[in-house]
């Protein structure tokens, strides 16, 4: 089964382990701006979200790229940007619905997630996420797990309601 990154926003703790792991792995430096994955937070209300590449089957980023620098990799299934071909026009960045594409501060080219191509254990973000907000799994397995989790919650709540009444 083909694996993708699944983001379960309810589980995101906003710790940024994914962010710092990604930048270290790819760039040898720890930062937010060099990371391919981002965290969006509202500290006072506690809401937080992980914004990463959603591995669109029909990615807008590849569709709008004028040079073909951004194209779906046939092996990994994720859109990849070739920095040598990229002209830094930023169209992919603007068209990504998830804010998953950024402009590199040094090369000025677009850069994005490449699933840590070649890493045996899979993408660092999913490997390091302590809350299970990012998982590296097949969509089918992810849906099955989520269904069971939600069903369990509903049954527990219903049992509780019954006890109270």
């Amino acid at each position: 089964m083909e694996k993708v990154l699944i983001y379960d926003q309810e589980k995101c703790t906003g710790c940024r382990s994914c962010v710092v792991g990604c930048s270290l792995y790819h760039e040898g430096e720890c930062s937010k701006i060099l990371s391919r994955v981002n965290i969006v937070k509202y500290e006072s209300t506690g809401e937080c979200y992980v914004a990463g590449c959603d591995l669109c089957t029909d990615p807008p980023c590849a569709a709008v790229c004028p040079t073909g620098a951004c194209a779906v990799d046939p092996v990994t299934g994720i859109a990849k940007i070739d920095p040598d071909v990229c002209i830094g026009c930023k169209e992919c960045m603007i068209h990504c619905p998830f804010g998953a594409i950024k402009i590199h501060p040094v090369t000025k080219k677009a850069f994005k997630c490449d699933l840590c191509e070649g890493r045996e254990e899979g993408p660092v973000c999913a490997d390091w996420c302590p809350g299970g907000a990012i998982t590296w799994t097949s969509p089918e397995l992810a849906v099955k797990a989520k269904k069971r989790e939600k069903l369990h919650e509903r049954i527990t709540a219903a049992t509780k309601a019954k006890e109270v009444s």
Partner: protein, 654 residues
């Protein structure tokens, strides 16, 4: 430069100066960072006779070389000052993400001195630093000030250090936060910040932290993170927060019940992590780069406080304005009180401590309704606790006296030694919610000698005697003996406290979270050395590394020595040595216990190489640590401390 940013930012609010000071290789090697940098500044720049509210005083924010990196839990910040609560050395540590942001902006430490003419906040935008008007946010809760500043600066992604109204009103135990709810709770740093008319420090950092050996560093970080996946403490803390400790505390009799009159109570489970997670947990939170994520976000759903929400609480934040003041029946009261101390910006521990002390004075007839302004200080009276928390923050009525802290309040009310018996403090600082008759004799020993006011669980955090039992062989590895892996024994505790204090100090210099190295022992001292060396490119040995911790610790001890605080003040509150632990529940494990501190202190002094009479660090030890100037400072003071005049003096430091 690898690891460090290489510079300190100094902001003088009186003169309006913004100075960037480079940090030399020798300096960084000697002190490493975080608490090390801070303690050095405080020792050198805040003399013993200076008032904690003097405009010339310093408040330091220290980050470490690992801050902002991929090592486990690198978001921590040490905040240090001369404490308004004790008059002595003070510091506190906060989580969150601000520390990483400051490193990304290019600074290892921020020192604030002077006093602004009107309320201000500091805005650090990488290398651009400015001081901005804060009159429109003065008086606001941190959560509101945070929102307003982000709107004003048009960036939701910045991180902000904030104080609340209590800091502005110079409540002696006011605290400081970053990311709204991550508190540096203890020793009153918030009041020092407030005394400078400083409301906030906002930061945006668009840089990063360079790593000397990125591949090796990644491998170490990865190996440690894999370890955390099935680490028992990580699982407990992640699932239930630090409230996971509640039922253990109750069973082992260290649960703070009614100002430590007892150590266990039947309804403790009302506020346990398990109960919290089923009733009010909104979601889990994590500090920067943390593999544990023990943070909670709470939303009260029922009862009179329904609708209130906040980040937290931790165990130590919830128990003081809960069971410590006799409240346990309705947990929503406990969550509400924690929300209040957060919004008002006060140390939950000191707030609950001083209220519970006042309640015991009231119980025993030392004070009456005429002292309290008519407030009925009955144990468990939530209306009164809710009122008092606010009165303390705004210095109104009886709250104005309590805002001075327990020992000063006792003196203001003329209660004498009898009043002081119930203040449960050492060197003026209150014990957090951990009764040493149950928590552990190692902890009890460290309460007597800790260098930010004693009564303090975080100077040693000697969890080798607690969670150490979850890691078979760990006590033997460091101490040569498994017997100390049990709280209520004195066996091996002097060495345990010595080792853990040094290790904790260097952990605070790196500014990584001690939950990764104590409570959870997934990260061992050798691992810390490895990630430190591969990150910075240095080649420190294990003993050089731990020696930094010992150096910092001795410097802080010498700070107290200059204030004439030494062996005589190495005491724990008498309740713990005189009163045998009563039975609170039938499964309690420490009924009858008292803390045998006397058995452990002399041996501990040997490890520390403190002089037996004064308790000051010996000249030999200070020279060994490269602290000759400190040895010179203490030379003339040793005799003075032993004089009859000093022996008779009343003990507190400002």
């Amino acid at each position: 430069m690898y690891g460090w940013a290489g510079q300190r930012l100094r902001v003088d609010l009186s003169k309006g100066d913004i100075i960037k000071e480079p940090l030399s290789y020798e300096y960084r090697k000697k002190w490493i960072g975080g608490r090390g940098f801070n303690s050095d500044i405080i020792y050198n720049e805040v003399p013993p006779e200076m008032s904690p509210f003097d405009p010339r005083t310093r408040v330091c924010f220290g980050m470490g070389p690992l801050s902002g990196t991929a090592a486990p839990s690198t978001g921590r910040v040490t905040v240090s000052c001369k404490s308004p609560l004790t008059g002595g050395f003070g510091d506190s540590n906060m989580g969150g993400h601000w520390g990483a942001e400051v490193k990304y902006a290019g600074y290892d430490q921020i020192v604030v001195q002077g006093k602004a003419k009107k309320p201000v906040y500091i805005w650090i935008d990488d290398d651009k630093v400015e001081v901005r008007d804060a009159s429109h946010i003065w008086g606001k809760f941190p959560r509101d000030a945070d929102t307003i500043i982000k709107e004003e600066l048009k960036d939701e992604d910045i991180h902000i250090v904030l104080i609340g109204p209590a800091g502005e009103n110079l409540v002696r135990f006011a605290c400081v936060f970053n990311d709204v709810y991550r508190a540096a709770g203890r020793t009153g740093t918030g009041a020092v910040i407030g005394s400078k008319n400083l409301k906030a420090i906002a930061v945006r950092g668009s840089g990063g932290v360079k790593i000397a050996n990125p591949k090796e560093f990644f491998e170490i970080c990865n190996r440690l993170r894999q370890k955390f996946k099935d680490d028992p403490m990580k699982i407990g803390l992640n699932t239930y927060g630090s409230l996971v400790l509640i039922n253990f505390a109750n069973r082992d009799g260290w649960f703070p019940w009614k100002n430590f009159q007892g150590g266990a109570t039947p309804l403790a489970n009302n506020m346990s992590g398990e109960t919290h997670s089923k009733t009010v947990l909104k979601h889990r939170e994590g500090c920067f780069a943390c593999p544990i994520c023990c943070g909670r976000f709470t939303e009260i759903k029922e009862g009179r406080w329904a609708g209130e929400y906040f980040g937290g609480p931790e165990y130590e934040h919830a128990v003081p304005t809960g069971p410590r003041v006799g409240i346990i029946e309705d947990a929503n009261d406990i969550w509400h009180n924690a929300r209040l101390t957060n919004d008002l910006g006060m140390d939950g521990i000191e707030t609950g401590a001083v209220i519970s002390t006042a309640m015991e004075w009231y119980q025993r007839g030392l004070i009456s309704a005429k002292d309290t302004g008519g407030l009925d200080l009955e144990w468990g009276n939530e209306e009164v606790v809710d009122q008092l928390i606010q009165d303390i923050a705004y210095r109104q009525g009886f709250g104005d006296i309590l805002a001075e802290g327990g020992d000063r309040a006792a003196d203001k009310l003329g209660l004498g030694d009898k009043g002081h018996y119930y203040t449960i403090t050492t060197r003026g600082m209150s014990l957090p919610g951990d009764d040493p008759r149950g928590l552990g004799f190692g902890y009890g020993l460290s309460f007597a000698v800790g260098t930010r006011g004693g009564c303090d669980h975080l100077r040693s955090l000697c969890c080798l005697e607690l969670s150490g039992a979850l890691y078979p062989g760990l006590n033997t590895k460091y101490l040569g003996d498994e017997r100390p892996a049990k709280p209520t024994t004195t066996v091996g505790k002097p060495y345990m406290v010595y080792y853990e204090e040094n290790q904790k100090a260097v952990t605070d210099c790196l500014n990584v979270c001690c939950f990764t190295t104590h409570w959870s022992y997934a990260v061992l001292t050798q691992d810390q050395l490895d990630y430190f060396n591969t990150c910075t490119g240095l080649d420190m040995t294990l003993d050089e590394f731990l020696e930094v911790g010992e150096r910092v610790y001795n410097l802080e001890r010498a700070y107290w020595a200059r204030l004439m605080s030494g062996a005589r003040e190495d005491v724990v509150p008498e309740r713990f040595t005189k009163e045998p632990m009563p039975q609170g529940v039938e499964y309690q494990t420490n009924v009858g216990a008292t803390l045998p501190i006397g058995e452990m202190l002399p041996k501990y002094f040997k490890y520390r190489d403190y002089e037996p009479g004064t308790g000051f660090p010996s000249e030999r030890k200070l020279k060994q640590l490269g602290l000759e100037y400190v040895a010179d400072d203490l030379k003339s003071l040793r005799k003075k401390y032993m004089s009859e005049a000093e022996k008779k003096k009343k003990k507190y430091y400002y």
